[in-house]
């Protein structure tokens, strides 16, 4: 029997049904999920290597910009570490991000918002964490934008973050918010999270020490994935 990961804490994750986020109503299972001990398929997951990504994929200031040009917006460094619940770094794991541009518009054929597209901004980046779990992206701070939920709902500035970890049981997609944004407490998607501390941990902190003078301002954002049980005494009988 493989050694599994800690049980997910449902008191910090959003439940499936969150009526103020209206789309969840018809897309949320009504029956209880079946809890599963972890077997081979849960403690394994895709392994990525440097061959899967290119070195410039994590630089959203240049990865879609025309030669010599750059996107419009507040230049930021978004950086941090991927850790597990045991406070150990998660090295060489794939982290992918996507976001709207500075005017709150996504480069997506289904985004019809009035905000302008930026010809020099794609809005996605990816990299592998280093041996200490560290990652860093250069980008522009995304704009807030309206969305169809209640008639005047606006998303706070946010960057979507997808992380794999070492096992399919650790797979996580979340969103990174920015310290001080007055839209955070007004957002029905943020409010799906039942725990104020958990929202706070999704809020990137202004990091003046990592800011580059006369260039860009830094925000620090750590991601925590599930921790794994220790194998001492595992499988030796009760």
């Amino acid at each position: 029997m493989s050694t599994g990961y800690y049980q997910r804490r449902r008191d910090i994750h959003p439940p499936a049904l969150t009526p103020d986020y209206k789309t969840s109503v018809a897309r949320s299972p009504r029956l209880a999920p079946l809890s599963l001990d972890h077997g081979a398929g849960e403690v394994t997951g895709p392994v990525f290597t440097a061959a899967d990504v290119d070195p410039g994929d994590n630089d959203l200031l240049t990865n879609y910009a025309r030669e010599g040009q750059s996107p419009i917006g507040e230049r930021i460094l978004l950086h941090g570490r991927v850790l597990d619940e045991n406070a150990r770094p998660v090295p060489r794991t794939l982290i992918e991000i996507w976001q709207a541009n500075a005017s709150g518009r996504y480069r997506h054929r289904k985004d019809m918002y009035l905000g302008a597209l930026d010809p020099n901004f794609g809005g996605c980046g990816r990299m592998l964490t280093d041996d200490s779990g560290y990652f860093a992206f250069r980008t522009v701070k995304p704009g807030a934008y309206p969305w169809r939920n209640r008639v005047n709902d606006w998303r706070p500035a946010h960057i979507h973050v997808s992380v794999f970890g070492a096992a399919f049981a650790q797979r996580l997609i979340t969103q990174c918010y920015f310290e001080g944004d007055p839209l955070i407490p007004r957002c029905p998607i943020v409010a799906t999270i039942p725990d104020a501390g958990a929202v706070d941990r999704l809020t990137a902190r202004l990091d003046m020490n990592a800011s580059v003078p006369l260039d860009m301002i830094a925000y620090r954002f750590d991601v925590v994935l599930r921790g794994r049980r220790q194998s001492i005494f595992e499988g030796q009988g009760a």
Binding site: A16, T18, S24, L31, A40, A87, R126, H160, V224, G227
Partner: protein, 202 residues
Amino acid sequence: MTDDLGYLRESASQTAGPFVHIGLAPGAAGFDIYQRELGQDIAGPNAAGERIRVEGLVIDGTGSPVKDVMLEVWQANAAGHYAHPEGGGTVEEGFRGWGRVITDFDTGAWAFDTIKPGPIGEGHAPHLHLWIVARGINIGLNTRMYFSDDSVAHATDPVLNLIEWESRRPTLIATRSKGQGPAVYRFDIRLQGEGETVFFDI
């Protein structure tokens, strides 16, 4: 941020939203940015086993297809090995066993090509792991897909047998069609209501 035992807490999930493709499958979003889009080839060219196609819909509680869903597939190879250091053995060169599946934005139909996995151990029935994210899904949904031609193995599979309601077990079994050419399995996932698919808290 540690508790009094020194543990960190997992970051909370948030919906992948309607524009998940920008980050994870930019080609589907309508633009070309990366040299390699990940998750396009699950089995690779050298994998042993039967080549199959899986197709289906994700259906919401009103009976409508979910047109902006993204699925990730995770599976063993024909020998029952996952491409991972703890995967039980070696896999063929180029076999990753992982892929991303995007819907047709107009119809919600999705399909992917792979090989049929082998059982991961005695008494286990072959299956794929699926992880489903979309706008309106607050935390990715885990489920499994089994194969209709393995009914003997289904009787002993430890996970299928954990499902107390036998009437719900068929929600995890894809139906093999008998057409010409490579085998096609049909697997519709019902998020809610009658015939709701069994999801797992893994």
